[in-house]
């Protein structure tokens, strides 16, 4: 009995100190840890995929004509990172931040405003402003910064000149020459 207790005591002394000194020293997170989400308004196209898959509906998109307002109610975010999985532009991603304790609940409500344009047919929003820049950044036939707009995406001589305001029915070329 006494021997066994002595043995236990020796084992306990051998273990050393195991307690983390956490609040006074940083504690690294494991790989693939999903913490607080962050987002980039420059990349977002407001397609609504994240709002569609969010289980607690913490991402809400409001269409306001030329502007889409995206609200993140992080007080009910469960850090499942499904928004990150579904986002085509990777405009939203989980970070390593886990120290999200706060005395004020308004710290947990983030907001993003993206400028959109309205479709003349259906009246819904779509993103126009930097779509061509995106083609460029993905190296879709772009020849350098600013070039994709002129020659990159479209051929050098477009078959139909969309800018000229002529009738779509072409007249025979012979008549033109005369």
């Amino acid at each position: 009995m006494f021997k066994a207790k002595l043995k236990e005591a020796v084992i306990c002394f051998g273990a050393g100190r195991v307690t983390l000194k956490y609040p006074f020293e940083p504690s690294p997170v494991p790989p693939k840890f999903r913490g607080k989400i962050e987002f980039d308004a420059r990349k977002c196209i407001a397609c609504g995929g994240c709002a569609n898959v969010c289980p607690p509906r913490c991402i809400v998109i409001e269409d306001m004509g030329e502007v889409a307002k995206i609200t993140f109610n992080l007080d009910r975010c469960i850090q499942c990172a499904r928004c990150y999985e579904v986002c085509p532009e990777k405009a939203i991603w989980p970070t390593d931040e886990f120290e999200t304790a706060t005395p004020d609940k308004s710290d947990l409500k983030s907001e993003m405003i993206v400028w959109m344009s309205t479709c003349q047919r259906c009246g819904r929003c779509f993103e126009t402003e930097n779509a061509i820049d995106k083609f460029e950044s993905k190296r879709w036939r772009g020849r350098g910064p600013g070039e994709a707009n002129k020659h990159g995406i479209f051929p050098i001589k477009p078959p139909i000149d969309f800018t000229a305001q002529t009738s779509l029915v072409r007249e025979p070329e012979e008549e033109k020459d005369q």
Partner: protein, 172 residues
Amino acid sequence: MISDLCKKMLGKSLWLFHTNCGACNGCDIEVIDVLTPYYDVERFGMKLVGSPRHADALVVTGSVSRQVAPALRRLYEATPDPKVVIAVGTCAVGGNIWFDTYNILGGADKVVPVTVYIPGCPPRPEAIIYGAAMALGLVPKKTEAQHEQHVPKGFDLDAYLEKWKDTPAITR
């Protein structure tokens, strides 16, 4: 301000009373985890007590259901002043995926005034320690709301949003 108040009023040791208001047991496991020798929150003088009358702080886990709300209110009234309420987990902070169901009130702050919110599903044990240390005033607040906008130059956003103020929101 709250941390200064807590520092002045509570002195050194924070005795916790842990109450489960309809949690899935995940946050409760993490709260127990914090008390193990590895994380050892007893360094700060915190320990679990068996009665709210002995406690300085209420640790609330779980989205508060309709059945348990009066009991939580009574627990809060039984705790002697000054007291701190720590909401642990996304359920207790905002109601999680049940925030709009009929039998869930959606957060502990609908019933009792909450001092520190610790979101996470479940929060890391370190996050709980961080929240508890913040209630004691040992560490500052780190997180902040993120407000971003991407509009062309010269677009008067405030005036535009003012125009849409009374229009019912179309969400998707």
